[in-house]
Amino acid sequence: MVVGAKGSPLQLVLSTILHVDNPTGNISLDEALRIRKNPMIKEAIPVSYGDNYKGYKILGTSNQYLHKYGATCKEGKLNTKNFEAVLGSGAAKNLNLSIGNTFLGSHGLVQNEIDVHDEKPFAVTGILAPTGTVVDHLIITNLESIWEVHEHVDHEEQERHEEQEEHKEITALLLNFRNPIGALQLSRSINKNSSLQAAFPKLEIDRLLKFLGVGFKTINSIAIAILFVAALSIFISLIKTVRERKHELALLRTYGATTFQLLKLVFLEALFLSVVGFILGWFLGRLGLLLFSKLASDTYTYYLGISLPDTEEFFIFIIVFFTTILATILASYSLFKLNISKILADA
C-alpha cells in the first residue's frame, strides 16, 4: 500500500511505484511516523523525491527499499552517509557515471539547468546489479540528503525554512502489511480521518488497465483478424500451388505416386511456409518489442522485457499447425479427382 498526499490515487501509485508521474505532493514525516506505529504494519519504507540528475530521478529512501526490490551492489558499496548515492544499472550506464564520481541534482523531475542544487554534490558509492525493475533507472540516496538539499534552497527563502525545520517531509510511505484485512482497515481509516490518502498499487493498476481495456480489446481483435487473414492466405496460396502445379502433380501420378503422396507434398510445402512464417513472425515481433522498449526506455525510462518463447506462443504454433492441415485438406480437394489425362493432354 502507498500512503501519500491527497489527490488521485492512480497518480500516487504511478509516481511512487513506477516513477512515471509527478507526485501528489508531500506529507509530513511526523504524520507518516504515526501511521508506521500501527501494529498491522510489517514494514514501512519512506520515499522522498523531487530532484533529478539529467532526467534520472533521485530517490531518498531507507535501505529497506533496495532490499525490497532485491537490488544488490554490483560495484562499490551501498550509501551510508549523506550525499552518497547508488545508481541503478541503467542509470549508471546511460549517465556514464562510475564510483567516486560526483553529480549535482537539479530541482524537479525533468532535466533542467536552471534550478541546480550546485552546492551539494552527490558522490557515487555504488552501482547496483540489474534487477529488471524500476530501480534500474533510479538514483538512490538517503532521506537526509534530500532534506538537506532542500534545506539549503530554503535558506534563501527564510520563511519556508523555519517551517521546514519544524517538521520534515517525505513524498510517500510504502507499507507492507501482516495481513490483507489490516491493510483494508488502515486504508479506510487513513482516507477518512487524515489529510493523507492510501492507495493499493494493484487496484490502481487494474483500474488503469481497465481504462485502457478498450484499446487492448481493439488491438486484440485486430490481431485475431490478422490471424484469420493469414490462415486464409495460406489456404489461397495452397490452392494456387495446386492449380499452378497441377501439371507437375499429374506427372507425378503417372510416375506412380499415390494421391496420398501428393497430399503429403502439398502439406509439407504448406507446413514449411507456415513454420517459416511463424518463426519470422516471432522474431519480428520481438524485434518490434525491442525497438519499442528502447524507445520507451529513452523517453519514459520504462523498460519492457524480452522473453523466450512461452506456452501461449506454443499454443499459437499448434493452432498454426492445425490451420495448415485444414488448409491443405481443403485446398487439396481437387487432388483427389485430378484428371491426369486431361491435364497432360491440354497443351
Binding site: 507437375e248 510416375y255 506412380g256 505416386a257 499415390t258 489425362s341 497432360l344 493432354a345 497443351a347
Partner: protein, 210 residues
C-alpha cells in the same frame, strides 16, 4: 506384350461421340506406330493404354495383367513400374535439376536406383554436361531428350511415346527414333509411338491406322 480388346471411349462432356479403337495385339518386344490425323483420338488411345483414362468398353492387357481390373492403388504402382510415357509436351518438376527429375522418376517406380543406367542413359542422350542444370535452363532439344529419358529410365514393359519427334530436325529425329528402338530392345519392352511424322514411318513395320 500388349493387347487391347474392342476399346471404346467417350468423353463425359461429349457423350454423343464415341471413339472406336481397332484392337492392338503386340507380341513380345514388338513395336508399333499409331498413325492418324489429328483429333481422331491418338492421345486418347495412349492414355487408355497407360491407364490414365478408363475406357467405356473393352480391356487393355499388359503382359498378363488386365489394366482395368486393377484397383486404384494397384494401378498407381503398376503405372509407375511398368509404363513409361513420353509426353507430347514435355512436363518436368520445374524446381528440380535434370538429374533430380530422373531420380524421382526412378524412386517412384519403386525399382532399385540404378546409377550406372542413369549415367549411361545421360551419355547416350548427350545430357551428361547439363545434368545439374534446372530443367528451365535447358534448351528445347535437351528437354525433349530428358522427356525421353524419363520415359525409359525405369525399364518399363511398355514405352508409350506421344509425338516424340514433332519438334526435332531430321538429324535429331533419326537419332531419337533409333535410340528409342534400341532402348526398347535393351529393356525388352514394347514401344508404341504415336505420330503423324512421315520421317518415322520407315523405321517401323507395324502401323496401326486409326
Amino acid at each position: 506384350m500388349i493387347r487391347t480388346t474392342s476399346l471404346r471411349f467417350a468423353y463425359q462432356n461429349t457423350k454423343t461421340h464415341t471413339f472406336y479403337f481397332p484392337d492392338i495385339d503386340l507380341s513380345f518386344e514388338q513395336n508399333a506406330l499409331i498413325l492418324g490425323s489429328s483429333g481422331i483420338g491418338k492421345t486418347t488411345l495412349l492414355h487408355l493404354l497407360a491407364g490414365l483414362l478408363v475406357p467405356k468398353k473393352g480391356n487393355v492387357f499388359i503382359g498378363s495383367t488386365c489394366v482395368q481390373e486393377l484397383t486404384r492403388s494397384q494401378l498407381n504402382n503398376f503405372r509407375g513400374e511398368h509404363i513409361g510415357i513420353i509426353f507430347q509436351r514435355a512436363y518436368f518438376m520445374k524446381s528440380l535439376s535434370l538429374i533430380e527429375n530422373l531420380k524421382i522418376r526412378e524412386k517412384l517406380s519403386k525399382k532399385t536406383m540404378d546409377q550406372e543406367r542413369r549415367i549411361r542413359l545421360l551419355e547416350k542422350l548427350d545430357l551428361t554436361e547439363v545434368r545439374n542444370k534446372k530443367v528451365q535452363e535447358l534448351s528445347e532439344g535437351q528437354r525433349q531428350r530428358l522427356s525421353i529419358a524419363l520415359g525409359i529410365i525405369h525399364k518399363p514393359r511398355v514405352i508409350l511415346a506421344d509425338e516424340p519427334t514433332s519438334n526435332l530436325d531430321d538429324k535429331n529425329c533419326e537419332r531419337v527414333v533409333s535410340l528409342l528402338k534400341k532402348e526398347a530392345q535393351i529393356c525388352r519392352s514394347n514401344l508404341i509411338i504415336i505420330t503423324h511424322d512421315q520421317r518415322v514411318k520407315s523405321h517401323f513395320d507395324k502401323h496401326i491406322i486409326l
